[in-house]
């Protein structure tokens, strides 16, 4: 056996140079946090603090919910180098189905699975066209955009806006988790606070564990100063958010739902074989196929999952507005795609994390929320969002090229 020829550089970097290297190496990741902070600061100042009020922040969470769910599904689609333009109206259409079924007196626990199944069906239809008939996803879903927009108009044609009165259903995007029996003794929401503490502990534990793994194999890790700084700021962020919610009315159901979806999808992408296959297909479809990955099958499932999540987003949105309207879903696809790209999904595929996509969704929805608070005209909002979107992609392309 020959001696090792490649000498890993000894870790004698100074803190300064490490911070610099870290910033340059992960500029893509940090840019989105920086953007988020900048947006928060600007709107807080512009609205004289109204933006940062507990009420508004809870509002922001509830608004972000449906976009975040869509964006998670979109991230998978974009990683495997496809696109889904139909998600907005699929969400609108499935949301309308929910409203109609509720109006007809269906039980809410029957309505939700039925609507989710409808979403899967839509995904199956589009996945079939893309994988079996080989219609490009762009065309399939552009057509879908028209089809489901039309269907949405059709089902709401007779009634116009359909009001939803079911209390359970409305809780989904407007309600809060109940508190523990002992919670009454405190003037904050006890369960929410406990969940927050649990999250901090869990975060520290998993981060420390993955760092230990890296060290065990002598992989490059960040220095302990930076690691601790990162952990502390992360913990502080979680605790601050938790406190805001706990001191208001507790954790919104939307946050619970989004977190569950996020945890499941993050698990699938990072831990399972299916997740590996998704990244492999995005990285090099032909190589993936020749490595025994059934590209068509994976693609099909990713589209089906997108349908499912679009229906979930539809449910959340309908619940949020307490009604289904003929224009529900306009522009959601842009929000979802932009969230993914801002969250670091690569335009050339194969790269992306759902955890970052959530941050991307927060960026987009903070913009929307802040501009609404300021009473910015909707037309102008479109212009701003479009610009941010194209900037994010331009940024990705230029930083990607330099690597």
């Amino acid at each position: 056996m020959k001696t090792e020829r490649v000498k890993p550089m000894v870790q004698t970097e100074s803190l300064g140079s490490e911070v610099k290297a870290l910033l340059l190496g992960n500029i893509r990741d940090y840019a989105m946090y920086i953007a988020l902070v900048v947006i928060f600061v600007i709107f807080t100042v512009a609205t004289k603090g109204l933006f940062l009020s507990s009420r508004n922040l809870i509002n922001l969470v509830n608004q972000t919910g449906y976009v975040a769910v869509l964006a998670i599904g979109m991230t998978l689609i974009l990683i495997i180098k496809h696109i889904d333009l139909s998600v907005g109206f699929v969400a609108g259409f499935t949301g309308a189905i929910a409203a109609i079924l509720l109006m007809k007196g269906w039980n809410v626990w029957l309505v939700i699975p039925t609507v989710l199944a409808c979403g899967v069906l839509v995904g199956v239809y589009q996945g079939f066209l893309v994988t079996k008939i080989k219609v490009p996803a762009f065309v399939t879903t552009l057509a879908g955009m028209f089809i489901f927009r039309g269907l949405l108009s059709l089902v709401t044609a007779g009634t116009g806006t359909i009001i939803v009165r079911n209390r359970t259903f409305l809780q989904l995007s407007n309600g809060y988790i109940p508190d523990l029996p002992w919670g009454a003794h405190f003037d904050f929401h006890l369960l929410t606070l406990l969940i927050g503490i649990f999250l901090v502990v869990a975060t520290i534990y998993t981060q420390a564990k993955s760092r230990r793994t890296l060290q065990r194999y002598n992989f490059k890790t960040t220095s302990s100063v930076i690691f601790v700084t990162k952990l502390v700021s992360l913990a502080a962020l979680i605790m601050a958010t938790t406190w805001i919610m706990a001191s208001y009315r507790g954790l919104p159901w939307t946050a619970v739902i989004v977190t569950i979806v996020l945890v499941i999808y993050n698990f699938i992408l990072t831990k399972t074989r299916f997740g590996r296959h998704i990244y492999a297909i995005g990285g090099n479809t032909e190589a993936a196929e020749l490595s025994g990955i059934k590209v068509n099958q994976v693609t099909f499932l990713v589209f089906a999952s997108m349908g499912l999540l679009a229906a979930l987003a539809g449910i959340l949105y309908t619940s949020r507005l307490a009604s289904a309207t003929p224009t529900a879903g306009v522009g959601f696809e842009l929000d979802a795609i932009a969230s993914s790209y801002i969250g670091g999904v690569s335009v050339s595929g194969g790269v992306g994390r759902v955890t970052n996509t959530i941050i991307g969704a927060l960026v987009i929805m903070s913009l929307t929320n802040g501009m609404n608070l300021l009473g910015v005209d909707i037309s102008f909002q479109y212009v701003v969002k479009g610009l941010i979107f194209v900037l994010a992609v331009a940024f990705d392309v230029t930083t990607g090229n330099r690597r």
Partner: protein
């Protein structure tokens, strides 16, 4: 005499975790052919990329002096303006465009604001003549063979009035004839005053063409040998490159008797779905347990197509006739996944296009075809993955800082070893290797051959597709020769000679029209 066209002084270039070049001093005399050799990952390509401005001034340390003037290239176009042209390890032509457009792309002949196509075609023909390529300049690149494409690349360089031509492994994908052609062209260009720097792993051609040979190892210059003063032997180059002697580059297998037939093709015929053309005509072939069977032939003889049609038929050919037997059972695979399940593996010819996921790291790539072995319930066990990948990294001597290194940043040879590792992890019983040593240094070649021997000793069977005659003769037990989609001959390794193989490889398949 010592008029240097180029001097590179104390060039140091670092990548995260790797010092690719370490105080390299490199001098090239005007009008010579200077060969740059060294193991995979020694830093050859990196040095040339520094020179041509791919890595702009400021991202490396050291000085580049061209024609006596210090240069600070910030972009490839800067070096082009100074008469430097580089032809990369991976060709960079546009397959859908005609030859003349490819030659003048980025350097268009303008007539005011519009391109003067007529003049372009006239000029292109002239340059094609100069490189000795007899094709119509209006044919598309995709209709040319690899050797011809290589010449188009050179024509492209010449169209820019090149004075220093850099070729990174130009003959790696060429057959003997095309290689000889190319080397002759380099000699001619030398007469016309063009200086060339050539990187190659083919020592035979280096010995025949080089005026000076510089050997790199681990990012340092080991020595610069003057081949005009005295004749340099291949053995001497190997010694400098690897730091030890390699007696016989084709290691011998211990007298092993191949066992029973494990794989058989009977009258295998395949038609390309799009062009409706039959690309394989009634192929018959047998492979025994513990045997290395070579598929020899020229580029484009249909060997890769054959492999693809067996291994799950990814291109979606129509199998119009014949049967395939694996361990006596008739099989036909609709997807590579099925082939892998049945113990087949296919190491592709083009690792970048369809072998590796370049943006992922070594361990991701190595574990990909057999992830099920690492599954604990639903979860891929990352701990086992790292241990496993590290084992392969060490046993195949993949030179990378760790298994967490992105495969795309590895040198060509180490990428090749990674794609081999990935299939060994799948533990196949029949391994198809498509040009397994393309672009690999002698040391690594020897290691791969040794590995192949070990695998067949363990009972694996290997089909080796190779265009290198010496490799075919040195490594196989038996060989089939293919030409135009048919098997034109079968020989045992003992009886085969180079001449015989060449004769069969150029024979047109009998009884086949078109």
């Amino acid at each position: 005499m010592s008029d240097y066209i180029l001097e590179m002084k104390n060039i140091t270039k670092e990548f995260p975790g790797v010092k690719a070049l370490d105080e390299v001093c490199f001098k090239v005399r005007r009008g010579e052919i200077h060969c740059l050799v060294g193991e995979n990952g020694a830093g050859k390509s990196t040095l040339m990329k520094v020179l041509s401005g791919v890595y702009p001034w400021g991202t490396y340390a050291g000085e580049i002096v061209l024609n006596g003037e210090t240069q600070q290239f910030r972009h490839i176009s800067d070096s082009e303006r100074q008469g430097i042209a580089i032809i990369y390890q991976e060709l960079a032509l546009f397959p859908e465009l005609p030859v003349y457009e490819n030659i003048f792309v980025g350097n268009e002949i303008m007539n005011g604001l519009v391109i003067n196509w007529n003049e372009t075609i006239v000029q292109a023909s002239k340059i094609l003549q100069r490189v000795g390529l007899q094709v119509d300049p209006t044919v598309k690149i995709k209709d040319l063979g690899v050797g011809q494409r290589q010449l188009v690349e050179i024509a492209k360089a010449l169209s820019k009035d090149v004075r220093l031509l850099i070729l990174d492994e130009p003959t790696a994908a060429l057959n003997e004839d095309d290689s000889t052609n190319l080397l002759n062209l380099l000699r001619e260009l030398k007469e016309q005053g063009v200086t060339s720097i050539m990187i190659s792993h083919k020592l035979k051609e280096i010995v025949s063409i080089a005026d000076t040979i510089t050997v790199l190892r681990d990012g340092r210059v080991v020595c610069s040998l003057d081949a005009q003063e005295r004749k340099i032997s291949e053995q001497e180059i190997i010694r400098h490159m690897v730091g030890r002697e390699i007696e016989n580059i084709y290691p011998k297998r211990e007298g092993l008797e191949p066992g029973e037939v494990v794989f058989e093709l009977k009258n295998w015929s395949v038609t390309d779905r799009q062009s409706r053309r039959e690309i394989l005509h009634s192929v018959n072939l047998q492979v025994r347990k513990g045997e290395i069977v070579a598929l020899a032939g020229l580029m484009g003889a249909g060997r890769t197509e054959l492999a693809l049609s067996l291994f799950g038929n990814v291109p979606g050919y129509d199998i119009t006739g014949g049967e395939m037997y694996l361990k006596g059972n008739k099989v036909q695979f609709r997807h590579p996944a099925e082939a892998i399940e049945h113990g087949m593996a296919y190491v592709t010819e083009d690792r970048k296009a369809n072998g590796l996921i370049l943006i992922q790291d070594v361990k991701f790539n190595v574990s990909l075809p057999a992830l099920h072995k690492l599954l604990h319930g639903l979860v891929v066990n990352e701990h086992e993955e790292i241990v496993m990948a590290t084992e392969y990294k060490e046993s195949l001597d993949i030179r990378a800082p760790s298994v967490q290194t992105t495969v795309g940043t590895l040198s060509g040879g180490n990428q090749q070893k990674s794609s081999l590792a990935k299939w060994l992890f799948a533990e196949p019983s029949l391994l198809i290797l498509d040009e397994p040593t393309r672009g690999i240094d002698v040391g690594a070649k020897f290691e791969i051959y040794t590995l192949m021997n070990k695998l067949v000793e363990q009972g694996m069977s290997i089909i080796m597709i190779s265009s290198e005659l010496l490799e075919v003769l040195g490594m196989s037990d038996r060989l089939y020769i293919m030409s135009e989609g048919t098997i034109t001959g079968e020989l045992t390794a003992e009886e085969a000679t180079e001449e015989q193989i060449m004769a069969m490889a150029t024979k047109i398949g009998e009884g086949v029209a078109g």
